[in-house]
């Protein structure tokens, strides 16, 4: 079965430092990739999405992600983290055989040190 892996459960970075959150899709073929953010007690908010074309996509709040087909990865990056970025981040992919069925990773919880 298709799966999405986020290998880092928790990450702590200092405010102002750069950030990279990892995401791997087991198939590597789906063209539909997403990153969502969830603040405590809240629903999920879309940060960015990739369908096709330029493999480097820009999102909200200064985030970007790059799709690397050869590595089946879609890592999320931010050059300078703000304290308000502390949240949980989920990678998601559209199923290879059914683009309207989504698979989510288990999430990476980001802590930001002052």
């Amino acid at each position: 079965a298709q799966s999405v892996t986020q290998p880092d459960i928790h990450i702590t970075v200092s405010e102002g430092a750069s950030l990279e959150l990892r995401c791997n899709d087991s198939y590597g073929a789906t063209p539909y990739l997403f990153w969502y953010v969830q603040s405590p007690g809240q629903g999920l908010q879309l940060l960015l999405k990739y369908f096709s074309g330029d493999t480097l996509v820009q999102g909200i709040k200064g985030f970007e992600a790059e799709f690397k087909r050869s590595q089946s990865s879609f890592n999320l990056r931010k050059p300078s983290v703000h304290w308000s970025d502390a949240a949980e981040y989920f990678c998601a992919v559209g199923a290879t055989y059914n683009f309207n069925k989504f698979y989510f990773g288990s999430g990476t919880k980001l802590n930001v040190k002052p």
Partner: protein, 114 residues
């Protein structure tokens, strides 16, 4: 334009009770989904629907039922509540492709079964 609304926000059930979680959308999207999120975990798909009258099972459908009689509404039914169903439930919607191909989430329903 409220997007996706869910009711109730919180609920405590006793073992064996039943209830319906409501989900309503005003974006006229065909696809609707129910997920559960257990503490510290990602989202697991319970059921989804590709349009009125059409539903299908996700990864964890046991103990739940759904119906889709209109485009707007997609209620989730728990018939005999069990402690294992303690979770946060999210309803989501998506379009059928292109720019609409992303999921919009409701605020969630926090359910406790004791």
């Amino acid at each position: 334009n409220a997007g996706v609304t869910q009711t109730p926000k919180f609920r405590i059930l006793k073992i064996g009770q039943s209830m319906t979680l409501q989900c309503t959308q005003d974006m006229n999207h065909n696809y609707m989904y129910w997920y559960r999120q257990d503490p510290g975990m990602g989202l697991k798909l319970i059921y989804y629907s590709v349009g009125a009258g059409i539903t299908d099972k996700g990864e964890v459908p046991n103990g739940y039922n759904v119906s889709r009689s209109t485009t707007e509404d997609f209620p989730l039914r728990l018939e005999l509540a069990a402690p294992s169903q303690t979770s946060v439930y999210f309803c989501a919607i998506s379009g059928s492709g292109g720019a609409d191909y992303e999921q919009y989430f409701g605020p969630g329903t926090r359910l406790t079964v004791t």
